[in-house]
Amino acid sequence: SAVISQKPSRDICQRGTSLTIQCQVDSQVTMMFWYRQQPGQSLTLIATANQGSEATYESGFVIDKFPISRPNLTFSTLTVSNMSPEDSSIYLCSVDRGGTDTQYFGPGTRLTVL
């Protein structure tokens, strides 16, 4: 498995502002993923972040709204930009250890936008 931490664990933000969420892993991993879990719904992939390359975004998600950084093999950030109440969700990062296809998840960041 992997030890994954996220900061902040929760936040309440005003409409129109931006929030950057950090994801730290205890060992080097090739692939990191960012998911969104809206209230009462399941997880939806936002993007895949590989170190040294641009993130790959899923349909319905764009870089201007959800810019991602992946400066090294143990860290990534997701920014939620120009927030609206519809962005209120739990944001989760996950990692794939490589060769197993199994993803391990962080504890999540609960975001509320007023």
Partner: protein, 111 residues
């Protein structure tokens, strides 16, 4: 497009009352089926990976099975601490890396 349907949406069991959760899937070539447990306010916790029909995995009171169309998570003699939402996800063979999740079964075990 991949589809994952979990049933029931919610399940209440008495402590010790065994039952099964269902995950039906449609994918363009199954690369893996995953079961996760999610407690309120926490990220999903990995339970099992199943790769081919007929495969079974066990962990304590949980047993996961896989056919070509569905997977079952059997819970034997559940305890209150087994209360959680159980998520099923699939990984297909298209080359994409993401997991496609179902909406989960919310399990409550009553003492």
């Amino acid at each position: 497009e991949d589809q994952v349907t979990q049933s029931p949406e919610a399940l209440r069991l008495q402590e010790g009352e065994s039952s099964s959760l269902n995950c039906s899937y449609t994918v363009s070539g199954l690369r893996g089926l995953f079961w996760y447990r999610q407690d309120p306010g926490k990220g999903p916790e990995f339970l099992f990976t199943l790769y081919s029909a007929g495969e079974e995995k066990e962990k304590e009171r949980l047993k996961a099975t896989l056919t070509k169309k569905e997977s079952f998570l059997h819970i034997t003699a559940p305890k209150p601490e087994d209360s959680a939402t159980y998520l099923c996800a699939v990984h297909d063979q298209t080359g994409a890396n993401n997991l496609f999740f179902g909406t989960g079964t919310r399990l409550t075990v009553i003492p």
